[in-house]
């Protein structure tokens, strides 16, 4: 048992220390031991549509520039002039052939080379002209771009492990490639970042915290069967990643019913997908998934709306969140409008659900001031079950065991649960497989 995680397989019981949520020392070590040695999501390729497009982002505490160079290649730069440090880009987004520092006028190409400096002759002939600094690694998987500050880290594909298949289940939903819409949910919460990670795939809280949302769905649909939430599995994807995956029945719980035309288009889309990918894979696509890629990347697909969420820790009691809407651009206007509607009623800081999550997490954080009287939080749900569902807490234990390993060196074996079957294991048809890997 480490100082932070009490993983008792006998009782069984799993607890995490509330000190891990409030201690500035823990926060500093998370930066060094987790964020400096993980692959971290920075953005989606479709956010940079044209050559020389850029966006500024803070990732793992570092100010970065997420850009396409003149040749269209994705680049990530440290947003700091190598001369004396002024920020090269001060806009949240833009398009620039050259990144010029306003402080002394040094100018860099979008490929990172120093192309001019005023009064060039005052530097010696042998002066090593510095280019822009970059994180050690940049790579992407199906449009999702990740960076790492660790030059020795394993490749992105091997880091993603089983999570890559869940990215595929989302990325395969458009024949022309899923696209991030304009408009970002940029918000925050006065709470520890780990609580929002837990909340992002916690099915147990849905009925009580989001009663208000389900009342709306009930009013719109006339009925609601919450048992659909149990038709799900929490699944270990390796390297601390996990998913709460639901069967297709989950979709009956979310959003307003589609119009006749919307439903017809959606049905036709899925029929086409069935011909391309086969029934087993599309049955799976029609389900739902709340995926967390360790440590801070969240991808949630409740069929009528895919949210990409990146959690940026700022201090032990404060986090920043960015939420994007990933959608198929090849969808008709009416279906797109209904997708937007169903996304917004739940997601985001103005929806009928997210503000109540933020409220719950903020009260948790405030109550941890009493951590010496009440030192532990409990995450044991479903440890005794053969097949934990999305309403259990296996997915969080998987995350915390990886956290504990990186923070304390303590390794604990995975839990033993019934093998997956049915809709949770369908694969792409083999010809589609070849298509997707070329």
């Amino acid at each position: 048992m480490s100082e932070y995680v009490d993983d008792d397989r006998e009782m069984p019981r799993f607890r995490v220390s509330r000190k891990a949520m409030v201690d500035p020392g823990v926060f500093a070590r998370e930066r060094e031991q987790i964020f400096d040695h993980s692959w971290l999501y920075i953005g989606h390729e479709t956010e940079l549509r044209k050559p020389n497009d850029f966006r500024t982002r803070t990732v793992g505490g570092r100010p970065l520039i997420f850009a396409r160079d003149a040749k269209g290649q994705i680049r990530v730069w440290v947003n700091s002039c190598p001369h004396r440090g002024a920020m090269l880009c001060r806009e949240p987004q833009g398009n620039a052939r050259f990144l010029t520092c306003f402080y002394h006028g040094w100018s860099f190409s979008s490929a990172g080379d120093l192309v001019s400096m005023p009064d060039d002759a005052s530097y010696g002939e042998n002066f090593a002209r510095p280019g822009l600094a970059a994180p050690a690694k940049v790579d992407s998987y199906r449009g999702f771009v990740f960076i790492s500050f660790d030059p020795g880290i394993t490749g992105l594909r091997s880091y993603l492990a089983g999570a890559a298949e869940y990215i595929d289940l989302v990325a395969d939903q458009s024949e022309v490639g899923m696209q991030v819409l304009d408009g970002t949910h940029e918000y925050s919460a006065r709470t520890n970042w780990k609580l929002l990670v837990e909340n992002s795939y916690d099915g147990y809280h849905a009925a009580s915290t989001h009663q208000r949302y389900f009342q709306m769905v009930m009013a719109a649909r006339g009925q609601l069967d919450p048992r659909a939430l149990l038709d799900s599995r929490a699944i270990d994807l390796g390297n601390g990643h996990a998913v709460a995956a639901g069967a297709a029945s989950t979709s009956s719980l979310f959003g307003r019913p589609l119009s006749e035309a919307g439903l017809a288009e959606r049905t036709a889309r899925f029929e086409r997908m069935r011909r391309t990918y086969g029934d087993a894979w599309v049955d799976r696509i029609e389900g739902a998934r709340n995926l967390v890629i360790f440590p801070n990347f969240v991808l949630i697909d409740l069929v009528m709306g895919v949210v990409i969420r990146r959690i940026e820790p700022v201090s032990p009691g404060y986090l920043e969140v960015s939420g994007w809407h990933l959608a198929p651009p090849d969808e008709g206007e009416e279906l797109h409008r209904q997708r937007l509607d169903n996304f917004l009623t739940f997601w985001g800081p103005g929806g009928l659900a997210t503000p109540d999550d933020v409220e719950a997490l903020e009260t948790c954080q405030r109550s941890y001031a009493a951590a010496s009287e009440l030192p532990w939080s409990d995450i044991s749900r479903g440890m005794n079950k053969p097949a934990p569902s999305a309403s259990d807490e296996l997915q969080m234990r998987i995350w915390w065991r990886r956290w504990n390993e990186l923070m304390t060196g303590e390794k604990s074996p995975p839990e033993d649960h019934a093998p997956l079957g049915g809709v949770f294991v369908g694969k792409r048809a083999s010809e589609a497989d070849q298509h997707a890997t070329t």
Binding site: P92, Q93, L181, D182, G183, T184, H185, E186, Y187, S188, A189, R190, T209, Q211, R212, Q215, M216, A219, A220, Y318, E320, W324, H325, E333, H336, R337, L340, D341, F343, L344, T345, G348, P349, G350, G351, L352, T354, P355, D356, V358, E359, A360, E362, R366
Partner: protein, 175 residues
């Protein structure tokens, strides 16, 4: 500038003075309903086709049918929002926060069809748990005129000047 050629720097009004005063009375009364949490009465200010919109902070001129917004409620959703805000199930607003709204710089102009375009500046203060959150922005409404200088909202749009909902975290009240 040479002496004697000085011109007035007062901008020419591009709005209807009398109509703007009527809209001002309407918006003051509306703000009062919201600050008193008389949300069912407030909901009556929306006809069946009325919409309540808050664009994303990084896309203030976004299109609700194309781009991601923070809020885009039609009358059904707005009714759901209001009903739940008056119950305990809207946890972020139970207990209710206090709010105080300042609405200024009101300018209204009627379209040939009779609908009224309105711009107004707002500051909404939300006070809860010893924290004050300030929402600043501009209203860009479209009103439907009724009898005796009354109005209803066809579009009630609150465009935030904030570049992110930080550190506010959410929009759990009506903006």
């Amino acid at each position: 500038m040479m002496a004697g050629t000085e011109q007035s720097v007062t901008p020419r009004p591009v709005y209807d003075e009398r109509l703007s005063r009527a809209v001002e009375r309407f918006l003051y009364a509306e703000a009062d309903l919201l600050d008193r949490w008389q949300l069912h009465e407030w909901l009556e200010l929306f006809p069946a086709a009325g919409r309540y919109l808050v664009p994303a902070t990084d896309k203030p001129d976004g299109e609700p049918d194309r781009d991601l917004f923070l809020i885009q409620d039609d009358r059904f959703l707005l009714e759901q929002r209001v009903d739940s805000l008056l119950k305990r199930s809207a946890h972020a607003e139970y207990p209710h926060s206090r709010t105080r709204r300042l609405v200024t710089n009101i300018a209204a102009q009627a379209r040939p069809g009779g609908e009224v375009d309105v711009t107004a500046n707002f500051a909404v203060f939300r006070i809860r748990n010893a924290t004050t959150d300030t929402y600043v922005g501009q209203y860009r409404h479209v009103l439907e005129p009724g009898p005796d200088e009354t109005f209803r909202f066809l579009i009630r749009k609150a465009v935030l000047d904030l570049d992110a909902l930080r550190p506010l975290g959410k929009i759990s009240i009506i903006l």
